[in-house]
Symmetry: C2
């Protein structure tokens, strides 16, 4: 009989717990600004771009599903945090950018977010955290490769 590995040895559970613990630090900040995690992911992604992006790009960079993103964009647009137009060369494409208000919100959240991040680095160790980040990226990259056939 195959023994199932314990909770502690489960990679998905370890990742979930670590993320939960990290988000617990950030969630109050987002709540103060009436933002869900996903809404913040979108605003953050937009803030990272120097030029307006289309919805497909956002789907990729935020790891959200297209229907979820549509709803979130509608919400952010209602709140006037983003501007939406359509590409002149391809009118199917939505072109999205931070509005002035949206940019101001990102600018307001950023320093608080960095403060929290600095706390985490002090507690866990900056170098150690940097190394962990690298490992997480590598792990995600190898997992995105198809599983090799067993020889």
């Amino acid at each position: 009989m195959t023994e199932l590995r314990s909770f502690d040895e489960s990679l998905p559970m370890a990742l979930l717990n670590a993320r939960e613990a990290a988000m617990a630090r950030f969630r109050p900040l987002l709540a103060r600004h009436d933002l869900t995690e996903q809404q913040w992911r979108v605003l953050r992604a937009l803030g990272a771009e120097s030029t307006p992006v289309d919805a497909g790009t956002l789907v990729d960079s935020t790891s959200l599903q297209a229907p979820s993103l549509s709803r979130i964009l509608a919400n952010l647009s209602d709140r006037q945090l983003i501007d939406r137009t359509s590409s002149s060369s391809d009118q199917r494409r939505a072109v999205i950018s931070l509005s002035e208000q949206g940019a101001a919100l990102v600018a307001a959240v950023a320093p608080e977010s960095e403060t929290i991040y600095a706390q985490i680095e002090r507690q866990f160790g900056g170098d150690r955290l940097g190394h962990l980040l690298g490992e997480l990226h590598d792990l995600a990259a190898s997992l995105e490769q198809p599983a090799p056939e067993r020889q």
Copy 2:
């Protein structure tokens, strides 16, 4: 002006992406057995216990909220995957254990899960993965400590 750290440097995003990548490997397995991630977390937690547990214990071990757990238990109970009684010594306490069917389901999923896990270890390196798990546990542990006051 505070520059927001890029997506790549964000710990929550890195954890989310890594978890997504990992779950992508496991999700088809769960789907074949008509289980959501959370339902599986509960069954797995129950499978790990040698004795029946109460709902509060499950809340802790699965990182689910009590109301979510209640609904999930109702669902699993409808599907006869768990048995629920109440403690004779304290009738507020729900006493939950895997049913015979539930144990059979866990036993059916376990070997497939281990196969997937072994693939991940082959791709990423077993030692490296073990070390990463340790770091994730440590990170979660330090994050669960209250943030120290800045000196």
